[in-house]
Amino acid sequence: MTEEKKPEERKKRRTATEAASRIGPMVKAMVGEVMQAKEEKKPIAYSFICCCYDEIIRAMDIVPHWVENYAGICGAKRDAQRFLERAEAENFSRSLCTYALCGLGFDAWREELGEMPPESPWGGQVRPTMMLGSGQMLCDPRNKWFQAAQHYMPDIPVYDLGLPWPPYESDYDYRQVQDYYVKYIVEELKGLVQFLEKHTGKKMDWERLNQLVELTDKTWNLIWETYELRRAVPSPMGTGDAMNTMVPIVFMMGTQQAYDFFQDLNKELKQKIANKEGEVPDEKYRLLWGGGLPAWFALGDFNYFNSKGAVFPVETTYRMIEAIYNFDMDLTKVTDPLEHIAWRWVKFWTYWHDRARKRPGSHPDVERLIKYFEDYKIDGIVMHEAFSCRSWHPGLIWQLNLLKKVYRDIPSLVLESDIVDISSYNEADTRARIDAFIDTLEAVKR
């Protein structure tokens, strides 16, 4: 049976930083903690990254089970296909998000068996106590996934959190409407706290929440400062590593572990810069990973870029932080933790709005690319178009075209495959494209 097939695991990707090499065991431990929580009958919540509720659930001792992460693990271990096929057999369309398909296929199979599917990667995705959606302007599966998962787990409650932000308008200052957005988000978060209190039988510890919110702010600042170190020539760390160091950013926010990790990385990068130690010995081309989630089963492609002397000092993917002190308001003065979270969210998503309004025809997403281009001395841009993503990825080509229109023509490469579905990927073709791209970079440099 196809479902029983278990492919060989890929060799571990080589990382440039010692910190990034510690991430694999950290993720494994994180998945292990969920298993442990299940045994200890602690509440477990299916969670999404970039959700605004990191500190809230941690303040209530609810253990997050990051479903996108689990699908990514299956993809990285090249063991997602059997879960995708299972979802397809349940009549979910193959054109849906493959994170969602992998998770739904896994859930359907686990619920049917009454136990984990055979040889589930790292023990499997456990049956949760609750599922916390948070979609709205990010992507539709983040609203619909858990509703669909309820087909297999009708007894598991879902809370669907709406997290809007003022959309960009070139002739309109978002500050005129930002208060409404913050108010709306605060109400949504209040509803979430009530939901969690109801389903855990435990009251929110507001003081603890305050502390965690403060810790998150501190961590955001530290991450921003650490990633800015990568501007150095040669750059000490690339996007390949950042696809590891995203773990504390998106799965561990509001924990001391995340802060400590970035302190270590910060020290390591400073040391590498002092030693003039780049990600590659002979840095020739500096590239911007301009968007798209990576093909988790093909992270070795970053090493392939490295073998050509190409490095990625910066990326937009998973850099889901800004320095809090760079916002146009003093967030430390917002003492209510839910309001604080809401303001942080709105300020993050509107951070590039003002720059965009200054350049006719531009857009915040494009301004971010331009700023990185200049700050990090970039030679070319690479994007990854994952076919199964219908929200962010289709807009990438538009961003690229707009960048070339409002800024300048720059060498670009669009890789095509998926986040999880390996059938979309051809290593030989991908590397032929990378070779050709390197040729164009060389031609432009001449």
Binding site: A436, D439, A443
Partner: protein, 280 residues
């Protein structure tokens, strides 16, 4: 003493070899077999015979195309994007954009100072490539090389709505059974490819003049369909299949010149057209 350069372009369906000094001295085009290295050996031999040159006289050999890594006697492998760009810029200096429609992929290349500065590529799907026409030709019982001329007699091109080659073939069968005229069906197929290629090209800022290369450029029906999409005429080199091989040979010349100017040593492969197998 004259210097001679060889370009070997092993595409998915055709293998092309040129030998150049100041101009093309000899060229050979033959079908690509399953064992590229053996075929490369043979076509190179044929090209040398045509040029009346011993292999030792070839200063530098550059291989390109999908099978480029399978050419044991090549001094260097260079991607087909760079080779097509160099070849097109040499053959048609006024070209700023190159469209190459090959057997297995299609690509668009932006040129600046004779070099590729940006490109797009479709290698994921047979639609938009020569393979699409090959499959359809077989289904229609028509020779591939006749399709272009046949389509010029079309009065009302049919619309092929499927972008998948396999399903499009079924659609062709249905259209035939509905009584559609052969030229109208073939014109519809050309239109479908042109639409696909044009969609891909929109990622590049298309700048005139546009050169069309590869096997697709030999199909007059496809050329017309593409021109209709672009809204202007394209330039086609005298032998569009050789563009990549010519570019490879020229790049070989550039490499040698640069090495001589800098006084840097240039490693070369052994000048022996040995037989090789894929699995040694």
């Amino acid at each position: 003493m004259s210097q001679y350069f060889a370009g070997v372009d092993i595409g998915s369906t055709m293998t092309k070899v040129v030998i150049m000094n100041q101009a093309v001295l000899a060229s050979v085009i033959g079908p690509t077999g399953p064992e590229h290295r053996k075929l490369a050996n043979r076509v190179m031999e044929e090209a040398l015979e045509k040029a009346k040159l011993p292999f030792d006289d070839i200063t530098y050999v550059v291989a390109t195309g999908y099978g480029r890594i399978n050419v044991p006697f090549a001094d260097k492998q260079i991607t087909e994007i760079s080779c097509h760009a160099r070849g097109a810029a040499y053959l048609l200096p006024e070209a700023r954009t190159v469209i190459d429609i090959g057997g297995q992929d299609s690509k668009g290349i932006k040129l600046k100072d004779g070099r590729a500065v940006d490109f797009v590529m479709n290698d994921k799907c047979a639609a938009g490539t020569g393979r699409f026409l090959e499959v359809a030709a077989e289904e229609l019982g028509v020779k591939l090389e006749d399709m272009g001329k046949l389509s010029l007699a079309a009065k009302n091109a049919v619309r092929i709505s499927n972008t998948c080659t396999v399903f499009a073939t079924q659609e062709v069968v249905t259209k035939l059974s509905e009584g559609a005229a052969l030229p109208d069906i073939i014109a519809g197929l050309h239109e479908a490819i042109a639409t696909r290629v044009y969609g891909m090209l929109r990622r590049l800022k298309i700048e005139r003049e546009v050169a069309l290369t590869g096997g697709g450029a030999k199909n007059i029906g496809l050329v017309k369909a593409l021109e209709a999409k672009l809204g202007f005429a394209v330039l086609v080199p005298p032998e569009p299949l050789l563009t990549g091989a010519i570019g490879a040979a020229l790049l070989g010349g550039d490499i040698v010149k640069e090495a001589e100017e800098k006084g840097t040593p240039l490693p070369r492969a052994e000048r022996r057209l040995q037989e090789a197998t894929l699995f040694t």
